[in-house]
């Protein structure tokens, strides 16, 4: 049986096709999120990668910010539940998930079965999110994926506000004008993200293993800053952007199984 999980975020679209809830057959990430061509493209691309068409898929679960606008999805489930299930599949010893996406941050506590025990999310403010890093990268005239490399070369992190993206942007400009190096400013930005996310994490309680997911988990500079801020080991998901889609595909499989059991 084949199931598909589609995770439509604010800045990217992800999809995974799984066989019998145990094997990832194909996966795909498109760097365009809800409201763009990304959702449609990610579905087409993942089906193509698996050499399948829609009729081969038994059940589709959509998740993420744009989950309600996916035509053809059989069901939509919140990204909290999907991330929990996806991370549990990839790293079963996970008890705390820190997911930093394009415009929100979630900290999720899960049990030994991957079920959600508790969660917190950031409020409307974009501080600490992928969007925050994008804004900073623009000011620093670099790409988001260069931030990690830059912070690695820092000598002394420059403190940056952790409360507001707009204030932090002004601060970054001031710090650069004051002669601080880009590398030191980037390290300060990563510390800022870590402080912001850590405060959320402490609200649910961080129980090891702590695993980071989401696009920002690919930034080793932020992961390192998180380790220092939380004084705990932090693992990263082997497929950080795909955990939501994988979780959705797993839950899709579970739904079909349950329906079958009910019919039998």
């Amino acid at each position: 049986m084949f199931t598909m999980g589609i995770d439509i975020g604010s800045t990217s679209s992800k999809a995974a096709i799984m066989e019998d809830g145990s094997k990832i057959v194909a996966s795909c990430v498109i760097p365009f999120g809800t409201g763009t061509s990304g959702p449609q493209r990610v579905i087409e691309d993942v089906l193509q990668a698996a050499d399948m068409n829609r009729d081969n898929i038994d059940y589709i679960v959509a998740t993420g910010y744009g989950r309600r606008s996916i035509p053809g999805a059989d069901e939509q489930i919140s990204e909290i539940t999907c991330h929990a299930r996806g991370v549990h599949f990839l790293l079963p010893s996970t008890r705390t998930i820190i997911d930093i996406g394009g415009q929100d941050v979630k900290v999720i506590r899960v049990d030994e079965n991957g079920a959600v025990m508790n969660f917190v999310m950031n409020e409307k403010c974009a501080a600490g999110t992928g969007r925050f890093l994008e804004v900073m990268a623009r000011v620093l005239e670099c790409k988001v994926d260069e931030l990690s490399m830059l912070s690695n070369q820092a000598k002394q992190a420059v403190p940056i506000s952790s409360t507001c993206t707009v204030f932090a942007e002004s601060e970054v400009i001031s710090q650069l004008a004051a002669g601080n190096s880009r590398e030191d400013v980037v390290a300060g930005i990563h510390d800022s993200v870590a402080r912001r996310v850590a405060s959320l994490g402490k609200r649910v309680g961080l129980v090891p293993d702590v695993v980071m997911t989401g696009g920002v988990a690919q930034n080793e500079g932020v992961v390192k800053a998180m380790r220092q801020e939380l004084k705990t080991e932090i693992k990263t998901s082997p497929l950080p952007q795909l955990t939501g889609a994988i979780g959705a595909a797993l839950l899709a499989y579970q739904k079909v199984q349950k329906a079958k059991q009910a019919n039998d």
Binding site: I77, S78, E79, I80, A115, V116, M117, V120, E123, K124
Partner: protein, 380 residues
């Protein structure tokens, strides 16, 4: 339309048309109307003066005038109140009573006096030491002072027996509301979160005697029906209020039923009766003394979490939703205690930050959906 639907429709109309209700009441009775700001000012004093007490709990409006007085970090209820004040929405109110409930409400009377100088603004300070004898007498004295000012507006004296009568009417109304909440638990399919709120909210815009009649009729009709087999998620909500309507519709959409509340606009108004006493003002003082579990009433024992646990046990609720009004300091201060009590009791809870003017509901939807999934998972 069934009788239940008729009553709910009537109450819904009242809840959504406060200005029309005030206008209609004034036309019918020739009386005056007095606005009462949240949270714990006894409406009975206004009722005893022959005036219509009108709850002033903000509302859904776009904010453009209020920032002249209120900073962006003030709660959305007070912003809406100031917006309505400045836009002339309260022009039919003959006076406004402002209790010093929180830091923002402390300065609202001053702003109102400047914004609408023609309307008498009556300040009231309720005591922290509400339980001791001196505190009870102080509360009584504050209410006497309000009554004196109302007498000047109406030109009619308020006798003690008038207030005794009003206290009895309110006790009866509050008991009916508490009975309604109990009966509603068996009819979650009809008494949706939205309908439940309409029953509460309408009580602020019509004479309590009339509201009591409608609530009792609603109870009678509900009792006649078979209890519903509700398959969704039963929750207790706590906070200042459960607005806007969009939020309550989301509760319904994700399969929630509110089986009990600890809302300042809801049960906190109704759950503590005024005890007997020869002095009606002392009755109101004693009611405040006996009251428990509100962030805006001094409680060194922090009983609110225990009260929530009790509500969960009584209603067999699946969890608690903390409706945190953004920028409400008193509620924020209470939250760590509630969280600890609920976690110790193993009761799942959702912290949901809300505003009366919600520009974007996506994050709230995700949280409500995820919490519903969490509760479902616990059942399996």
């Amino acid at each position: 339309m069934s009788k239940v639907e008729e009553i709910l429709s009537e109450l819904g109309y009242v809840a959504h048309h406060p200005a029309r209700m005030v206008e209609q009441w004034k036309k019918e009775t020739g009386g005056k109307a007095v606005g009462i700001m949240p949270i714990h000012c006894a409406e009975e004093v206004v009722h005893a003066a022959g005036m219509l007490p009108v709850g002033m709990w903000g509302g859904q409006t776009s904010i453009s005038l209020a920032p002249e007085y209120l900073q962006s970090f003030c709660c959305s209820i007070m912003k809406a109140v100031m917006e309505f004040t400045m836009s002339g929405a309260y022009k039919n109110l003959d006076a406004i009573i402002c209790p010093e409930t929180c830091d923002t409400l402390r300065v609202i009377p001053l702003m109102m006096r400047k914004a609408i100088p023609q309307t008498p603004i009556i300040g009231v300070v309720l005591p922290d030491n509400r339980k001791i004898d001196a505190g009870i007498k102080y509360t009584a004295a504050e209410y006497r002072s309000i009554v004196k000012q109302l007498e000047q507006i109406t030109g009619n004296p308020v006798k003690d027996e008038d207030l005794q009568n009003s206290v009895e009417i309110y006790n009866e109304h509050h008991a009916a509301m508490m009975e309604f909440f109990k009966v509603a638990v068996d009819h979650c399919d009809i008494i949706t979160p939205y309908n439940r709120h309409m029953v509460i909210k309408s009580s602020y815009f019509m004479p309590k005697e009339k509201h009591t009649v409608l609530v009792k009729a609603l109870i009678d009709e509900l009792i006649k029906l078979q209890p519903s087999q509700f398959k969704g998620h039963k929750v207790v909500v706590t906070g200042i209020m459960s607005e806007p309507d969009e939020l309550l519709e989301m509760f319904g959409k994700y399969g929630y039923a509110i089986v009990a509340d600890d809302l300042a606009q809801g049960s906190r108004q109704f759950r503590t009766p005024a005890p007997a006493d020869d002095d009606p003002y002392i009755r109101l003082g004693k009611r405040l003394a006996n009251f428990e579990g509100c962030s805006c009433v001094y409680d060194p024992e922090k009983l609110r979490g225990k009260l929530l646990k009790q509500l969960v046990d009584e209603t067999q609720a699946d969890g608690v939703v903390v409706l945190m009004m953004k920028f409400c300091d008193p509620e924020e201060y209470d939250y760590p205690f509630i969280k600890q009590d609920l976690e110790e009791a193993g009761i799942p809870h959702l912290y949901l930050e809300i505003e009366q003017q919600m520009e974007s509901s996506e994050q709230v939807q995700t949280r409500l959906q995820a919490f519903a999934e969490l509760l479902e998972e616990r059942k399996n």
